[in-house]
C-alpha cells in the first residue's frame, strides 16, 4: 500500500521520534511511505481556538498535498489531527472555501486514519512484531477515544507486543487537561486535571505512559518531568517500532 505520512506540525518540529517510528514501522510492514514535502499543519489549533477563516490556506494545502489518487491512505501519529481532518476541514471548507476545496476535503477525509486505525482496520494487523520489555500504561486521548472512536485498537496493538507489561490506567478516559490553547487560557484548571492524571499514572508503577498523541504526551510528560516522577511518556508508535534487533533504549530522553 502507498501511504501518505502526515507528520503533523508538532511531530515534525518538536517530536520527530514519534514520526520516525511511524515511518519505519510502516516500511517494516512492507508499505511504501511517502512524505509530501509541502505539508505543514492541519489547522486544528486555529479551529479549536475559534478561527475558521485563517486556517483556510492550511486546509487547502493539506488537501492538495494528500489528494493525489496514487496515495491510498493518509496516516498521522495523532488522534486529534486525524479528528481535525475528518471533522473540522469540512466545516472550514463549507463556510469559507470554494467548491474545489469542498471536493478536495471530502476526498482526503475519506482516506485519513490515525495510526492505530490504519494498522488494525486497514492493514488488518495487530501483532506488528514489536518487543518492549517494560511496564507500560496507556492513556486513551480524548479525540482518539471520543472523536475518532478508536476504541481498544491501541490496546490490542500493545497487548501483542512481546514482553510488555501492560497495566491498566485508573480513570483512563479522563482528559489530561491539555486541550490545546485551553492549557494556556485556563492553565490552572488544566493543571488540576493534569495532577490527577499524573497521580493515576504514577499509581500504576509504569515506567512509560503511552498514547497516540504527541500533544497530550507533551502535556503529561511536561508535568511528570516537573515533579520528577519516575514515569515518562512515549508515543505508541515508538513502542510499536521497538524490536528485539533494534529495541528502544529507555534511558534515552523520552522523545
Amino acid at each position: 500500500m502507498r501511504i501518505g505520512l502526515f507528520a503533523t506540525c508538532l511531530g515534525d518540529t518538536l517530536f520527530p521520534e514519534a514520526v520516525k517510528s511511524t515511518a519505519v514501522l510502516l516500511a517494516r510492514l512492507g508499505h511504501e511511505v511517502v512524505f509530501p514535502p509541502g505539508q505543514t499543519c492541519c489547522g486544528q489549533m486555529h479551529v479549536n481556538t475559534g478561527y475558521q477563516r485563517e486556517p483556510v490556506p492550511l486546509v487547502r494545502n493539506f488537501a492538495d498535498q494528500f489528494g493525489d489518487a496514487s496515495i491510498d491512505a493518509v496516516v498521522m501519529p495523532s488522534g486529534s489531527c486525524a479528528g481535525s481532518v475528518r471533522h473540522q476541514h469540512e466545516l472550514v471548507a463549507e463556510r469559507y472555501g470554494d467548491a474545489a476545496l469542498r471536493a478536495g476535503v471530502a476526498t482526503v477525509r475519506a482516506k485519513t486514519y490515525e495510526l492505530s486505525e490504519l494498522l488494525v482496520d486497514v492493514l488488518d494487523v495487530t501483532d506488528v512484531g514489536a518487543y518492549f520489555p517494560h511496564r507500560v500504561t496507556y492513556h486513551p486521548t480524548c479525540h482518539s477515544l471520543r472523536m475518532l472512536r478508536v476504541g481498544d485498537k491501541p490496546l490490542r496493538l500493545l497487548r501483542a507486543v512481546d514482553s510488555i507489561d501492560l497495566v491498566e490506567l485508573p480513570e483512563a478516559d479522563s482528559c489530561c487537561g491539555f486541550g490545546g490553547t485551553f492549557a494556556v487560557k485556563n492553565a490552572e484548571t488544566s493543571t488540576a486535571m493534569l495532577q490527577d492524571k499524573m497521580r493515576n499514572v504514577t499509581s500504576t508503577g509504569a515506567a512509560v505512559c503511552t498514547a497516540g498523541d504527541s500533544s497530550c504526551l507533551m502535556h503529561i510528560g511536561g508535568g511528570l518531568s516537573r515533579i520528577k516522577a519516575g514515569a515518562r511518556t512515549l508515543h505508541l508508535a515508538q513502542i510499536l517500532s521497538s524490536t528485539r534487533t533494534s529495541p528502544y533504549v529507555l534511558t534515552e530522553a523520552a522523545r
Partner: protein, 512 residues
C-alpha cells in the same frame, strides 16, 4: 458534524438577550482561580461526581435500547424547535380549555412582574417553591423579596443554598459543593428550633428539613414551580422530582403558578415514554425518580383550583436564531454533562457565573445572554472553559454536540472581537504554515530555542504562556525536524533498512 450547509456564523442582531442570573462578574479563569484553591470544594465535587458517574453508567447500561432512546429524544426536541410557534399555541389552547390561564413573558423582568402580580392578587405574602431553573435564571426570589413576598425553597439542596445565603452550583443538586458536615452546620445555625443534637447522617439531615418545611406546606396558599415538560397535544405539565416537596407544592396550595421556558414544550403525550426513560437515568442515575407529577389545567376537587402558566422567552429566541447554537435549547436539564466534565469537577459551578454551569451552561449562557453584551463580557470566556474532551457529548441523553457548539461559539466570539493580538498571531501562523518554504525556515529558527535550554528543557515561558510553564516542563526543540531527518543520509538509510527487513521477513516466510 452535520453535512448540511452551515452558513455564516450567527451574529447579532437577533432577538433581545435574556435578563437575570446569566452573567458572572468575572471571567472564568479568574473565578476558577479561587474555586480551585478551595480544597473542601474540590473534594466534595470529586466525590459526588464520581458517585453519580458510576450510577449513571450502571442504569444506562441496563437498557439495550439506550442509543435508540437518545436518537428519539434528540429528534423530538429538534422537531419541537422547528415547530415551536404552533406547538406553543396548541399548548396554550389546551391549558386554557382545562381551566388554566396562560401568560407570556418577553424576558425575566416581565415574568417576575407577572408572577408578583399573580401572588399579590391572592392576598398572600409568601410562596412555596419547587426547584426550578427558570425562576433561578430570572431571579424571581429576589424580585419577590423586594416586594415583601417571602419565597420558601422546598427542595433540600435549594433549601441548603437559601439558608446558607449561598448560590447554586449545579443544575440538579445546587448544594453539591457542600458536604454533610457543612450542611449540618448550616441547619444548626439557620433552622429555628432545630434539635441541637442533630448529627451529619444524611437521613437525619433530610428529616430535619422535613420537620422544618411541614408547616409551610400545610399553610401556604400559593406555590411557584417550573416544568420539565409541557405537552402541547393535551396541555399537560410535568414536574420530575425526588423528595415529595414538588408534590406538596403542586397539590396542597390554592394557587399554582408555573414558569416554563418556551423550549420545554413537547408535541405529544406519547413523547413522555422517551423522556421519562432518558431524564432520571441521566440525572440522578435512577431507573425512575421517586415522584413525577403530571397535571392538566385544573381538576375540580383535586389540587390547586387556580393555575397560571407563564411562558418565558428571556433570550431563548435569540438562541433559536442560530442554526447551530440552537441545539443547546434541546437540553432537558439532566446535568449529566456537568457530572462527567473534568473542568466542572475541578472548578465547580460558581466559576461559570450563571444559573447554568458546566458544559451545557458554557454554550447556553452566552446564547441566552450574549458574549459581547457587557464590557469585557465574562460570558465571552465560557466557550473556552473546556478542553473539548467530548465526555459531555457522550453523556447527553438528547445528543447535544456540546464540543462542536463550543467551537462554534469560539468562532462567533473571534468574529465579533475585531482585530486582536491573538487573531493576528493566528493569521501569521496560517500564513507561515501554508507556505512550506517559509514554514521550514521557521522550523529551523525554532532550533534557536535549544540555546536557551538546560537539561533539554526550556526555561519559564513569558506571558501568555507562563500559565503553562508554571507546572510543566517544555522540551527544547530537537536537533533535527522529522523532514530534515528523512532528507538526511541517516533517514534514508533507516527507511531502506526497514523496507529490507520486510523483504527478509517475506523471504523467510516463503522459505518455510
Amino acid at each position: 458534524m452535520s453535512a448540511t450547509f452551515l452558513g455564516m456564523p450567527a451574529t447579532p442582531p437577533r432577538s433581545p438577550y435574556g435578563t437575570g442570573n446569566l452573567r458572572g462578574d468575572r471571567k472564568f479563569p479568574a473565578a476558577a482561580h479561587d474555586e480551585l484553591r478551595n480544597e473542601q470544594l474540590r473534594s466534595n465535587l470529586g466525590r459526588a461526581t464520581h458517585t453519580i458517574r458510576a450510577k449513571r453508567l450502571h442504569v444506562t447500561g441496563e437498557l439495550p435500547d439506550w442509543e435508540e432512546l437518545r436518537d428519539a429524544g434528540s429528534a423530538i426536541k429538534t422537531d419541537t424547535m422547528n415547530r415551536l410557534p404552533e406547538l406553543l399555541e396548541e399548548l396554550e389552547r389546551n391549558v386554557t380549555a382545562r381551566g388554566g390561564t396562560v401568560h407570556w413573558a418577553r424576558d425575566g423582568v416581565e415574568a417576575n412582574e407577572i408572577v408578583a402580580r399573580l401572588v399579590r392578587e391572592t392576598g398572600s405574602d409568601e410562596v412555596i417553591k419547587v426547584k426550578s431553573m427558570a425562576t433561578q435564571e430570572i431571579g424571581l426570589n429576589e424580585h419577590l423579596e423586594s416586594l415583601g413576598i417571602t419565597a420558601h425553597e422546598t427542595d433540600l439542596a435549594e433549601l441548603i443554598v437559601q439558608l446558607a445565603h449561598d448560590k447554586p452550583s449545579h443544575i440538579l443538586v445546587p448544594a453539591i459543593h457542600r458536604n454533610r458536615d457543612e450542611i449540618r452546620e448550616i441547619f444548626l445555625k439557620e433552622i429555628p428550633g432545630v434539635d441541637p443534637s442533630l448529627d451529619n447522617v444524611p437521613a437525619h439531615l433530610a428529616g430535619a428539613a422535613r420537620a422544618y418545611l411541614r408547616e409551610k406546606f400545610m399553610t401556604t396558599k400559593v406555590a411557584v414551580s417550573g416544568a420539565n415538560f409541557g405537552i402541547a397535544e393535551t396541555g399537560t405539565l410535568s414536574v420530575v422530582e425526588s423528595e415529595g416537596n414538588g408534590r406538596m407544592c403542586l397539590t396542597l396550595p390554592d394557587t399554582l403558578i408555573t414558569v416554563m421556558g418556551i423550549e420545554k414544550v413537547l408535541p405529544r403525550y406519547q413523547d413522555l415514554e422517551v423522556f421519562l426513560q432518558l431524564l432520571p437515568r441521566s440525572s440522578t442515575g435512577e431507573r425512575m425518580n421517586p415522584y413525577t407529577s403530571m397535571w392538566t389545567g385544573v381538576t375540580p376537587g383535586d389540587g390547586p383550583q387556580t393555575f397560571h402558566l407563564v411562558l418565558l422567552d428571556n433570550g431563548r429566541t435569540a438562541a433559536l436564531a442560530d442554526r447551530i447554537g440552537r441545539e443547546a435549547l434541546n437540553c432537558i436539564r439532566c446535568s449529566a454533562c456537568l457530572n462527567v466534565c473534568p473542568v466542572y469537577e475541578r472548578a465547580g459551578g460558581h466559576a461559570y457565573g450563571s444559573t447554568y454551569p458546566g458544559p451545557i451552561g458554557a454554550v447556553l449562557t452566552p446564547q441566552l445572554a450574549g458574549m459581547h453584551a457587557a464590557k469585557d463580557d465574562p460570558n465571552s470566556s465560557l466557550p473556552y472553559a473546556s478542553s473539548l474532551c467530548g465526555a459531555c457529548f457522550d453523556a447527553c441523553p438528547v445528543k447535544i454536540d456540546i464540543p462542536s457548539l463550543l467551537v462554534e461559539l469560539r468562532h462567533q466570539h473571534t468574529e465579533q472581537s475585531g482585530t486582536t493580538a491573538e487573531k493576528l498571531a493566528m493569521k501569521a501562523a496560517g500564513a507561515v504554515m501554508s507556505r512550506p518554504k517559509v514554514y521550514t525556515a521557521a522550523q529551523k529558527a525554532s532550533r534557536l530555542g535549544r540555546a536557551l535550554a538546560r537539561d533539554g528543557k526550556l526555561p519559564a515561558l513569558p506571558p501568555p504562556l507562563n500559565g503553562w510553564s508554571d507546572s510543566r516542563d517544555t522540551p527544547a526543540p530537537p536537533k533535527q525536524s522529522f523532514r530534515a531527518w528523512l532528507a538526511s543520509a541517516e533517514g534514508a538509510a533507516a527507511m531502506r533498512e526497514a523496507s529490507a527487513e520486510h523483504t527478509r521477513d517475506q523471504q523467510q516466510e516463503d522459505g518455510k
